[in-house]
């Protein structure tokens, strides 16, 4: 329980709780209020950005399970997103299966593909694994581009507007309705991931990351841990991919290139490796960055008209600078900055 002198636990059960202090419950409540109020406050444009961020929260949480918690580098995120997207759309639109079921199948499918491409991880670590996943990304993209059956030779897939049973997403309410769906799924993903690391499986992931030899010695089956880490992580990514497809209503391979893999890695680096909250912060940061930059350029555009032509390049530059600055200044990311801010307030006026 929380007292004036710190947090003291008298039972194991209380120690295992995710939230220990009243302040933490208060912040949770505040966040819930903000999230629930968002569709009534934000206009369509910003709600659209919020929706994209919610999808990337799911993907970033998935990637962080693999990179941050298991220590396996993956540059194959884009490929796994593509697997999720294509699987779900083909099963729902072409085979006529209801979307929730097709998404579930897409999740399982991506998990299986992820586990398969995770097999090199049994032999490779660090740099070599990064290169192996880079190759898997390129190979998946090649298959997606060249396998004509996937897109019926058009190079892209049109996706039917989301409908489940009698419910159909309306054109007028598109962003709002999707916001509720995505908010529910993103919350679910965060809760599942957060709790995963309180289970034996999740703990074994972290053991493999921290010291694989020691993990083996205390009886963790490293082979199984690594492959399941790839599968679990890819499952989340598959969900994100399937949602991207149904939300944007088109699937093209261009949405799943190496740049996307890099973007997701940037999210978890900026947010904080090995932290579920960090993945969320990172997704928000990387989602807002281009939008805010566009706003800024619009404001400055009156005095510097040439600036708007440079917008794509500026985005790349800011993206790269953000990664570099975070790695140099605070490698543990936004999550750590937030923790330090909280500590500062809590200990004030003392420094520690």
């Amino acid at each position: 329980m929380a007292t004036a002198t710190g947090i003291h636990h008298r039972t194991y059960r209380s120690e295992l709780r995710l939230r220990h202090t009243k302040a933490e419950y208060f912040r949770l409540a505040l966040m819930l209020v903000l999230l629930l109020a968002a569709p009534y406050v934000l206009d369509k444009y910003w709600l659209g950005i919020a929706n994209v961020i919610l999808i990337s929260v799911i993907g970033a949480v998935g990637l962080n399970i693999l990179v941050g918690f298991t220590g396996q580098i993956s540059l194959g995120q884009g490929g796994f997103l593509a697997v999720g997207a294509f699987t779900s759309v083909i099963i729902s639109d072409r085979a006529g299966v209801p979307v929730p079921i097709s998404i579930a199948i897409a999740v399982l499918m991506t998990a299986a593909v992820g586990a398969f491409f995770g097999l090199p991880a049994l032999r490779l670590k660090g740099l070599y694994l990064a290169i192996a996943t880079l190759a898997s990304q390129e190979i998946i993209m090649f298959v997606v581009r060249r396998w004509e059956w996937l897109t019926e030779g058009k190079g892209y897939l049109e996706v039917e507007r989301l409908h489940v049973g009698g419910f159909q997403v309306e054109r007028q309410m598109f962003e709002v309705q999707w916001y509720w769906i995505l908010l529910a799924l993103a919350t679910l993903a965060v809760v599942v991931a957060r709790n995963l690391f309180r289970t034996t499986l999740g703990r074994s992931f972290m053991a493999v990351r921290d010291q694989d030899i020691a993990a083996e010695a205390i009886g963790v089956n490293i082979t199984r841990a690594k492959v399941t880490a790839f599968a679990v992580s890819s499952g989340f990514v598959g969900l994100a991919g399937a949602l991207t497809a149904h939300y944007t209503e088109t699937v093209t391979w261009e949405r799943f290139t190496l740049d996307v893999s890099v973007l997701y890695l940037a999210m978890i680096i900026v947010g904080g490796l090995g932290s579920i909250a960090g993945a969320v912060y990172g997704a928000i940061f990387m989602g807002l960055l281009p939008a805010l930059l566009t706003e800024l350029v619009d404001v400055l555009g009156s005095s510097l008209p040439s600036l708007s032509d440079q917008l794509p390049a500026l985005r790349n530059a800011v993206f790269g600078i953000a990664i570099i600055v975070f790695l140099l200044v605070e490698p543990r990311g936004l999550d750590r900055i937030w923790t330090r801010m909280k500590d500062y307030v809590r200990f004030w006026p003392f420094r520690y």
């Binding site: 670590k125 694989d212 890695l265 940037a266 440079q310 390049a313 790349n316 530059a317 570099i324």
Partner: protein, 290 residues
């Protein structure tokens, strides 16, 4: 048969450029254990700097080359000193990501200053073609092979003979031992990045001369990975063998089978090598397996 010979020449010249690009990559990896995802952008920056000297500033060829080299040296030193050195000892993910961030910044800078359109640059190598065993082969492709051979020989002579080259090998072998022998590891790290930037400049300029001065040059950098995995991440001779094998393989697949397949075949080779022999043909067998 004619097709075979011209494909071989094209493959060899592509391979020579790949070897040059991979050389810088291997130098950095060998000396500092950093995987440089910005190698392609080093080529890009090199090509554009030469273009700036040659076309924009209208310098004679030789001064344009000197200008390019100077910029490459500055780039190498700055990147090592301000971006990589603070990250020494950090996790592999951080080091990889910082070079990815760097690649994004470099690409963006080129785009901001030069735009995305293809730039016209007068050919620096003689154009025209000659008959080789019945096949028509562009002269510039042959010269590219020649230049690459000279540069690679120059680099290996540097490693074998010069003080700095020997010091670099010492650092690559054992940093602590090198430090105790009075070698400045910091200077060697800088040197590795400078040499990488210079070899990338040469590759970039030659590549631009064969194709065009454009953003696509950076994409060539990704092909470095299959090359170095095949040859061995820390092997200089490996870059030559890897470069030539990948270069010719791509041309043969493109010529005899399918140009689309040629884009992905290096990665399939890469995965196969990783599964069978992860340290490549000449690489040091120090990979851990758990």
């Amino acid at each position: 048969m004619n097709t075979f010979i011209s494909l071989t020449i094209y493959g060899l010249s592509d391979g020579a450029l790949l070897a040059l690009a991979a050389l810088g990559f291997v130098l950095i990896y060998k000396a500092t254990r950093v995987i440089n995802f910005a190698q392609g952008e080093f080529l890009l920056v090199g090509a554009y700097m030469f273009y700036t000297g040659f076309v924009v500033m209208r310098l004679p060829l030789i001064f344009a080359a000197v200008f390019g080299v100077l910029v490459a040296i500055v780039l190498g030193v700055v990147v090592e000193r301000f971006i990589l050195r603070p990250l020494i000892g950090e996790h592999a993910i951080s080091v990889i990501m910082v070079t990815i961030g760097l690649s994004s910044v470099l690409k963006a800078l080129v785009q901001i200053f030069y735009g995305t359109s293809v730039r016209e640059q007068p050919p620096i190598l003689p154009t025209g073609s000659i008959q080789v065993a019945g096949a028509t082969v562009p002269v510039n492709r042959l010269i590219v092979i020649g230049i690459a051979v000279i540069v690679l020989f120059a680099f290996s002579a540097f490693f074998q003979r010069s003080r700095h080259g020997v010091a670099m090998r010492a650092v690559a072998d054992d940093q602590q031992a090198a430090l105790t022998m009075g070698i400045s590891v910091k200077r060697i790290f800088s040197l590795a990045w400078v040499l990488a930037a210079v070899s990338a400049l040469i590759a970039g300029v030659l590549l631009a001369d064969l194709s065009a001065v454009e953003q696509g040059i950076a994409a060539f950098g990704l092909m470095v990975f299959p090359v170095v995995i095949l040859g061995g991440l820390d092997s200089v001779p490996g870059t030559v063998v890897g470069g030539l094998v990948i270069g010719m393989l791509k041309q043969y697949v493109s010529g005899y089978a399918d140009p689309g397949l040629a884009e992905v075949i290096p990665y399939i080779v890469l995965v196969a090598i990783l599964v069978v022999r992860p340290y490549g043909i000449f690489g040091e067998t120090r990979i851990e397996r758990v």
